[in-house]
Amino acid sequence: MIWISKLGEITLSLLNRIGRMGLFLAKAFLCAITPPLKFSWIIKQIWFIGFQSTLVIFLTGAFSGMVLGLQGFHTLNRFGSTALLGPMVALSLIKELGPVLSALMVTGRAGSAMTAEIGIMRTTEQIDAMELMGLNPFRYLIVPKLIAGIIALPLLTAIFDVVGIFGGYFVGGKLLGVGEGTYFGEMANYVRIEDVLEGIYKSLSFGVIITWVCCYKGYSAGFGAEGVSKATTQAVVLSSVLVLFWDYIMTSLLF
């Protein structure tokens, strides 16, 4: 019967952790909607999370689109419907791959750095020092990242989608011979505004998930360098899993 009490213990600690993370997010949102907002800190974070991720997003977007073009062409070829390559590539990117892959790339590039930065500030007592000055660390460290994530993710996703669509056209059109008019014309016929909105909603929520998880893990990092490295690993894993989990929930419930 020992495993039952073990199970209870694990459940309790899990609920406890979820509660803490929930409170953390609630506090961050509360600070985000009440002045003062630290604009220069927000701009810096948009630059870091957004602008500095563009190269990585560009590359992953291009290759994802090219693979879709290649795979899609051969699959559709079996049904003799390669004319629908455009909408197939576009819908896959806009509804799923764009938001999800962008979120995973941003987690790896910016999320881990966020956790490490905040974690180091925690263990070197910079956060305590800020609090002693009568300043709320959330306003300087958490809120700017949260807002920057919400702004940057949809924009990065849009870049990913567009680059991917042209990557698909490069392979399917230029190399394999689908006409330009067919590729983009059919795309315009089949892609609806709801599909685009679905992608935007997803990327907005991913922006929240990434910054939330990565900031929380850094903010609650344990003692010393060991604590920070542990927090960074956990942040990347948890953020990636939550992105995929939430993607499924949104796809199945809302659309």
Binding site: M121, T124, E125, Q126, D128, A129, L132, M133, G134, L135
Partner: protein, 248 residues
């Protein structure tokens, strides 16, 4: 000014403080000594409310810091300067911006007034000319001086120094303690100093409190501590100073 009443604190079931009580009068310098890991930093963090005692109270000017919230807590903290063990400088800011930060964020001073204040504080701690350096470019002594300037810039009535000399070579350590002494004469703050540099600290402090096994083992003037017959005190002092501590 500071009154600590019977505080207890445990971490994960491990009891660090087991009923600590002492007082610091206005204008006084109290040296807090004791072995590493005994809870000296934990005591200082209780005084500013960064940690909450499991039992007991901390009073500052008669106000119970554990019961204060929001603006009242901020007001009290605004009167206390805290020098963290490793400086806790903002690593992404220059020396100048570190010292200017509390003024920029907490006061309505113009950038010109701020500049005057910051340069004066930096000059006061002997850092004139270093304002554009980043913390990573500073030596240990300069980090402590910057942190000291950042704490002083809010004109605190109380200064808490957590190991301002640890990790510095003895000569630099002495200059830091001399700086504390001369600024104390000049500004008249109340202070608690945690330091292992006993020979100099005993010259500066009005009273010394020794922490041992989670309790304040003994409190007294430096002379009383030095002439103590208590084996624990004797052993600690000779352990830190190699048995050669003389006051004058």
């Amino acid at each position: 000014m500071i009154r600590i009443e019977n505080i207890y604190k445990s971490f994960n079931g491990f009891e660090v403080l087991k009923g600590i009580s002492f007082q610091v009068e206005k204008g006084e310098i109290l040296a807090l000594i004791g072995g590493s890991g005994n809870g000296k930093s934990v005591i200082l963090k209780h005084i500013v409310g960064l940690m909450k005692p499991d039992q007991g109270h901390v009073f500052i000017d008669g106000k119970n810091i554990g019961h204060l919230k929001g603006n009242d807590l901020e007001e009290i903290r605004g009167r206390i300067g805290f020098l963290f063990q490793n400086g806790a400088l903002f690593t992404s800011f220059t020396v100048y911006d570190n010292v200017a930060f509390p003024l920029r964020e907490k006061t309505k001073s113009s950038e010109k007034e701020i500049r005057e204040r910051v340069l004066k504080e930096l000059d006061q701690v002997g850092l004139a000319g270093a304002e554009n350096k980043y913390p990573a470019e500073l030596s240990g002594g300069m980090i402590k001086r910057t942190a000291f300037a950042r704490a002083l810039v809010i004109k605190p009535e109380v200064m808490l120094f957590d190991e301002p000399t640890t990790g510095l070579d003895p000569i630099i350590a002495h200059t830091i303690l001399d700086l504390i002494k001369s600024l104390h004469e000049h500004l008249g703050f109340t202070a608690i100093i945690v330091s292992h540099e006993l020979s100099r600290v005993f010259q500066i402090a009005h009273r010394v409190a020794m922490l041992h096994e989670g309790r304040i083992w003994t409190v007294g003037t430096p002379e009383e501590i030095l002439s103590s017959k208590d084996p624990v005190v004797r052993q600690f002092i000779s352990g830190v100073t190699g048995g050669s501590l003389k006051l004058y």
